[in-house]
Amino acid sequence: MKAVRYCGAGDIRVEHVPDPQILNPRDAIVKVTATAICGSDLHIYNGYIPTMQTGDILGHEFMGEVVEVGSGNSRLKVGDRVVVPFTIACGRCYFCKEGLWSLCDNSNPNAWMAEKISGYSGSGLFGYSHMYGGYPGGQAEYARVPFADIGPIRVPDSLTDEQVLFLSDIFPTGYMAAENCSIRPGDTIAVWGCGPVGQFAIRSAYLLGAERVIAIDRYPERLALAARGRAETLNYTEVDVLDELRMRTGGQGPDACIDAVGLEAHGTTLDAWYDRIKTSMYLATDRPHVLRQAIGACRKGGTVSIPGVYGGWLDKFPLGAAFAKGLTLKMGQTHMHRYLPSLLARIEHGDIDPSFVITHRVTLDDAPDMYRTFNEKDDKCIKVIIKP
């Protein structure tokens, strides 16, 4: 089959590889009908994610038709149309039972690698480095799905692939980011990053009852899309973000701040340049400029919710400010399985049509070009979907 492979930072290729096979009883094989490139894939593309190996198949946002099921999987049938959550979870360990699906104990065969860095390992992820299991991803014609009796969600034929594909990651991710803000009526939420995750965080914040959402980015088309989701916008290259947020909230600060940017933040302030130089000299792992700003901006006693991915040891992290203001920090990979049924219901109900983020529709062969386009934010690119 054809698959999108990582061949080094900045080097993505479409190549022929062996078809996936059932390896375990609870597995299924899915013929991929739609898959997407995520902002998280860009961290891999830019070489920020350790333990990638040449030839790894990328992609963790995918859906398709079940073409084979393992002997121990009585829930799925050949022919089922499913969306696959990007976190791989067994459903039976302590963490799965607690609803902390992205922290599953039993799905990462390389848990020891993650333990060296974090003490304990999170769940396995599709197409996201060997530290997260080394599972081949879904930017391919077929994909093997472990624990397929518990992860994939069947979707009704009345909804198109484009409407349901983002249940695989970014809709639940934006939703959990907003849910982590413990929104109460009257609240103002500031969202850094108007990429796909930010867009879903904005809309989810309103779904959860926020009064105002202030969205921060610098790309006009992304800010415009945020505005279409009823956000007030703020271009960080034009104003001082902290001042502006203070002004707009009567000197109080937003009740909660969402960092939907992650470790590759851009910035115009001194600390952002410092991050850039340090990471380029291999002296730091992340560029946490947005996280610093979110902590600085948040009102006293507020929450900073971090769906943006961080990888290592953060430099100049203002824990003192977070402490002084008694902030709550919430973060992590999305507990995908927790959100699938209710968010599918919201789509069916017409509360939201997730296809609004799509700007590019391509085939597998175009994937390497689209990694570049999406990374550079060229051609007003916001979200790429691939139909193999």
Partner: protein, 242 residues
């Protein structure tokens, strides 16, 4: 050694885009753990096998890892072999979300052990309570030995030791504790073995990154996967070169 390796790689890469941070940027943090991790990951599977093959004592370690050590009840030769400088001790524990009875019963059928102890090929229990163990390493390096269970309390403990004349001298115990109001079971493994080359051999094994503790930890992790999830997690087919 690893650090030097890194410096070289870094120097060679100065002409690459600055965005190529990757593993190197992690390394630059200078964390010894990361250096080790990096080393482990860069090592090709062939290299890793070579390293392991070069240290058969590691396999002694592995094979000596079966549970069953309780001080004081060992026969004289086991006691001598495992005493002082000569013994290697491993202690590991893991919690499973299953009642203690399920975990105990699975482990007590020692034929099950090769299902999660990756280097064991087979274990067979004879009617007289003695058992025969076979372990195979890379290059068909194979060892066999006999052992006996010398202490056993249902749903609490199993202890065993190698029989006199065995290739591998070892003893160990596994304890099962019901925790969290009986919803979960904590499994604790204690074992001791004498690698033929003594402690020095063990040091070599450690240098290659896979200390006996790590091997036991991986085995226990597989036990947990098998019993909780019903299967051992695999990302790729066994014949995948990576």
């Amino acid at each position: 050694m690893l650090q030097f390796n890194f410096m070289t790689t870094h120097a060679l890469r100065h002409d690459m885009p600055s965005s190529i941070a990757s593993t190197e940027s992690w390394l630059a943090l200078g964390s010894a753990t990361l250096l080790l991790l990096y080393g482990a990951m860069r090592r090709s599977p062939a290299g890793a096998l070579g390293a392991i093959a070069a240290t058969p004592l590691l396999y002694r370690g592995i094979t000596g890892r079966w549970p069953g050590f309780l001080a004081g009840v060992m026969p004289e030769d086991t006691k001598t072999a495992l005493s002082g400088e000569r013994g290697v001790r491993v202690h590991e524990s893991i919690r499973l979300e299953l009642p203690v009875n399920d975990v105990y019963r699975f482990w007590r059928r020692i034929e099950n052990l090769p299902r999660f102890m990756s280097h064991l090929e087979s274990v067979a229990e004879n009617p007289d309570g003695r058992s025969h163990w076979v372990a195979v390493g890379p290059g068909d390096y194979r060892i066999e030995w006999d052992a006996e269970i010398f202490n056993e309390v249902e749903n609490q403990t199993i202890a065993w030791r190698s029989l006199p004349g065995s290739d591998v001298v070892s003893a160990g115990s596994v304890n099962f504790d019901a925790v969290r109001s009986g919803q979960s079971t904590q499994v604790s493994v204690n074992l001791q073995y004498a690698p033929p080359a003594g402690r020095a051999g063990d040091l070599v094994a450690r240098l290659f990154g896979r200390a006996p503790t790590q091997i036991v930890r991986e085995d226990l992790r597989r036990l947990k996967q098998l019993l909780e999830a019903g299967e051992v997690a695999h990302a790729r087919p066994a014949d995948d070169p990576r």
